[in-house]
């Protein structure tokens, strides 16, 4: 009469489509939450999911309801001291008075709606802001590839990996080993028999016994299995992560008074994206932060983004420091070097030629890529002109002027074109 079915193996993700619809429907709110989350994150910390919270009132599904007011009659359990005709002051908040009508039954109506975005979903929202083309998004979102590499042979594996030659070789070895003793015995017996036959004693009892024994031995040797599960060998394969080299990423930023929070935020996204790109291609990445106004200083990330100083701007101070750190800690033989520089374009005019010299002589020959962004600059100044001149002669130097987040990506286009990942 009853039928019992095991459904556990059946499709799990029945709600995946509904979830996708939910994310699409509330993309505006979610994008804002993602954007806030990005601002709070470290730049090497982009690559994970996030707990997102959006106001619950944005996603209510309304129905016609009674509002407060009118006459309500309700029965409640647990009477202790009331008798008929008693009058009770109205409880605050109207909880009792409205109890039973839809409104208060919904309980947690006012809290924010909190849920987890997966890593992919989070990155997709992040990329939406940056206007990344799909192909690049895919490259960035994909998990690091592993490559199958051969690693000797093993005794177990899938039939597809069966190594025929090896298996036969060990079968032969086993047959030899197992047959050695009986064969030696056989040879001895045959020797004895042929001696008897030479004497002409072919039909004696002794000879007959010998023949019978030879027969059993031959059968024993024949009974040794041609191939046995014991002989099987499989090619052994292990997963080897694809990116194997290491890289260092220098973040240079002008922190003089003219770089305000908005500009810093754009700069941060620019750094984040570069970092993410590098994580896809290199196994190990170090990040060095250098900030500068008139003098440069190596700092940690927090200081980098959050301290504000005033004063003039001497870009060469940062470039000189960059060159020195490369000399000391990151020899090009062991490191791929990337530099990202963000600034509002201000520089002390006499300093610009020095920057040019530092770049062409000491920096560009050693770096994989140097990206410069000028954020919300008023009009091109001496630094921009100098850099433009240098870019014309170097293929690992890219520069852009950007007014908003969506313009960050074009800087990377060159990068991706040069380096098919």
């Amino acid at each position: 009469m009853s039928q019992i079915i095991d459904r556990r193996a059946a499709g799990k993700n029945k709600s995946a489509d509904n979830r996708r619809r939910f994310l699409r429907r509330f993309r505006t709110q979610i994008r804002k939450a993602v954007s806030d989350a990005v601002s709070d994150r470290n730049i090497d910390d982009l690559d994970r999911g996030e707990k997102i919270s959006i106001p619950a009132r944005d996603l209510t599904e309304p129905v016609f309801q009674h509002g407060p007011g009118g006459i309500r009659r309700q029965v409640h359990p647990g009477n202790k001291e009331f008798s008929t005709g008693d009058r009770i002051p109205r409880p605050k908040g109207g909880g009792q008075g409205n109890g039973g009508s839809g409104a208060s039954d919904q309980g947690e109506g006012l809290d924010d709606f909190v849920f987890e975005l997966t890593r992919e979903e989070f990155l997709n929202f992040f990329f939406d802001d940056l206007a990344l083309p799909d192909m690049v998004k895919k490259q960035l979102t994909a998990l690091p590839d592993t490559k199958k590499a051969r690693a000797g042979f093993s005794r177990d594996g899938s039939p597809a990996n069966l190594h025929v030659v090896r298996s036969f070789r060990s079968a032969i070895g086993r047959r030899l080993a197992m047959g050695a003793a009986p064969r030696r015995e056989l040879m001895a017996l045959e020797e004895a028999l042929s001696q008897l036959e030479e004497k002409g004693e072919t039909e004696t009892l002794e000879a007959l016994a010998l023949r019978a024994e030879i027969e059993t031995l031959k059968k024993r040797i024949q009974a040794i299995p041609f191939i046995d599960t014991f002989d099987l060998r499989y090619t052994n394969q292990i997963d080897k992560p694809e990116p194997t080299s290491q890289a260092v990423m220098f973040c240079l930023m002008d922190v003089s008074g003219s770089m305000d929070e908005v500009r810093k935020d754009i700069a941060k996204r620019f750094f984040m994206l570069l970092h993410l790109f590098l994580t896809r291609n290199y196994e190990r990445i170090e990040v060095v932060f250098i900030r500068h106004h008139t003098v440069a200083k190596e700092v940690d990330e927090d200081d980098f983004f959050h301290s504000r100083e005033t004063g003039g701007t001497v870009v060469s101070s940062a470039l000189a420091m960059l060159a020195n750190i490369m000399d000391e800690r990151y020899p090009t033989t062991a490191w791929n070097i990337y530099v990202a520089q963000a600034s509002d374009g201000d520089n002390f005019v006499d300093d610009t030629p020095r920057c040019g010299k530092l770049l062409t002589k000491r920096i560009l020959p050693r770096v994989q890529y140097f990206a410069y962004v000028e954020i919300n600059a008023l009009s091109p100044q001496s630094l921009w002109r100098e850099y433009t001149r240098i870019a014309a002669g170097a293929d690992n130097f890219a520069l852009r002027r950007i007014d908003g987040e969506a313009e960050i990506f074009p800087v990377f286009r060159d990068l991706f074109r040069r380096q098919p990942a």
């Binding site: 556990r8 016609f64 009118g70 009659r73 202790k80 002051p89 839809g102």
Partner: protein, 504 residues
């Protein structure tokens, strides 16, 4: 271990499930429970969350609100804020019950007794389910609905379908026929009829909304004051499906789908206490009988009783966990009480329930299960003894009075009043605003007038303006909502204008 025990550990296996199901099923038949065949499906907790978020429909069309439900359930479950229900049971033939793999053997046995024999026999026996739902056809219909919605999304775009579904869902509670029996569902028929229907319907609508001036003799026959609809219509979705001027055929079909599903769930909303009480009564009775026969051991019973008592706990009104009457508690207590009145009546029972006293309790319970809904069940069977046990008291909250008034408690004068009030409280018609289609300005601006028939001066809540937007989306022209007091005076009125650019 005794030979008679069905099992002794807490782990379940498929063989044990079968053994328990057979034992419980045989007992249920002895007690006279009439059920659909059972289809018991073992699922994982993730699948349970899936089933949850689609309101228990085993196949459903896609919509963001189900995604939202899924995500909030998943979050609460992962954080440990809530356990999952032990079971979900679907009113279909065969009756599908989901068992979660994490449950212990005891819990699985409880669920089998509760869902596969309790709920199942209720679905098959209760008059509301027999009248309003079609257990044979619901699965087919849901498959049809899912396919149809997906097809519309492909043709007209996800967003358009989604907005339409939003509006339909908002009006779902006003999409049921309360008194008229619906035609039985059939997937094949639905599909066959679809194409002819779409064309035909559009013709009908066009005729109703003919913009050419009618020929003079027709016009003279038609009185200007002729009302449309002739009678107020309580089923808003049905009215829109048939008469909304600007819906396209596929949109009408989607309105119809939501309406059919609303109709299918309507009896469940009216029989919470009866249905849960019935299932709880039977899991208790069946497992208790197994124990009395020595077929389950003490450990089994301890675990069972612990979760059983949790389920039927009724916190008092001043308890922090209080959120109204617990339908499991009240329902269970009422069925037990009926059983008691039949078998061990006292003088009070002889006075209040002369028909029940000394009758066969199985027959009396069966009669009660078949022929009532929550409202009438309470009005018929709530005994003074239970009112005393629950310490029930009635409160009147009148916004024109400064204080609340206790109108009745558990004493001789109060019994009837408490019972009447509690019954009214479970009348869906009282809980939800009564809103009906009142009239359509057919020869003017095509605006629609809805009427909210107020009871006890209760006004509409703050969602109303949002809701009117949904009504406008379906109707396509201006919508007016009037609140009317029992004397027929309009006490409040709101208008929601249609945005002429919103469509097409």
């Amino acid at each position: 271990m005794s030979d008679k025990w069905l099992s002794s550990g807490s782990d379940w296996t498929f063989e044990l499930l079968e053994k328990y199901d057979q034992a419980i099923g045989a007992l249920a038949r002895d007690f006279g429970l009439d059920t659909y065949p059972n289809q018991i499906e073992v699922i994982s907790s993730e699948q349970m969350i899936d089933a949850y978020s689609s309101v228990g429909m085993p196949v459903g069309y896609h919509h963001w609100s189900f995604g939202k439900a899924f995500m909030s359930t998943q979050k609460n479950y992962q954080r440990g804020n809530m356990g999952l229900a032990y079971e979900i049971v679907i009113n279909s033939n065969p009756c599908i019950a989901y068992l979660m793999e994490e449950n212990t053997m005891t819990m699985q046995a409880l669920v089998i007794a509760h869902a596969c024999y309790g709920h199942n026999s209720f679905f098959k026996g209760n008059y509301l389910f027999r009248t309003w739902t079609d257990a044979e056809a619901i699965l087919d219909y849901l498959v049809f609905a899912r396919g149809y919605v997906a097809q519309c999304e492909e043709r007209y775009g996800e967003e358009r379908v989604e907005l339409l579904l939003d509006s339909c869902h908002a009006l779902m509670n006003l999409g049921v026929d309360r008194y008229k029996r619906p035609a039985p569902l059939s997937m094949v028929k639905e599909e066959q009829r679809l194409r002819e229907r779409e064309e035909y319907l559009q013709l009908q609508i066009n005729d109703l909304w003919r913009t050419l001036p009618p020929s003079p003799d027709v016009a003279s026959n038609r009185k200007k004051s002729e009302r449309f609809p002739e009678e107020p219509q309580e089923n808003l979705l049905y009215f829109f499906e048939k008469h909304a001027p600007r819906l396209e055929p596929w949109e009408r079909e989607i309105v119809r789908i939501v309406r059919k599903i609303a109709q299918y769930f309507y009896p469940q909303r009216q029989t919470q206490i009866m249905n849960e009480g019935w299932a709880t009564f039977w899991h208790y009775t069946l497992l208790q009988t197994l124990y009395e026969q020595g077929r389950v051991n003490d450990g089994f019973m301890f675990e069972f009783l612990q979760s059983h008592t949790n389920v039927i706990y009724q916190p008092p009104f001043d308890h922090p966990a209080y959120s109204g009457i617990n339908p499991y508690a009240l329902g269970f207590a009422m069925y037990r009480d009926i059983q008691r009145i039949c078998t061990e009546p006292d003088d009070e029972d002889r006075h209040w329930f002369p028909d029940l006293v000394d009758s066969d309790w199985r027959e009396s319970l069966d009669f009660a299960m078949r022929n009532f809904k929550d409202e009438s069940f309470i009005a018929q069977y709530l005994s003074p003894r239970l009112i005393r046990e629950f310490h029930l008291f009635a409160i009147e909250d009148d916004d024109q009075e400064p204080e609340l008034k206790v109108t009745a408690i558990h004493n001789d004068e109060g019994y009837l009043k408490v019972r009447r009030t509690l019954a009214d409280q479970h009348n869906l018609g009282n809980r939800e605003p009564n809103i009906q289609v009142y009239s359509v300005d057919r020869y003017g601006d095509r605006s629609l007038t809805l009427r909210h028939y107020q009871s006890n001066r209760m006004p509409l809540g703050e969602t109303t303006s949002e809701m009117l937007k949904h009504v406008v989306r379906l109707w396509g022209y201006d919508v007016r909502l009037e609140s009317v007091d029992p004397k027929g005076n309009i006490v409040e009125s709101q208008v929601c204008k249609a945005n002429p650019d919103i469509r097409h």
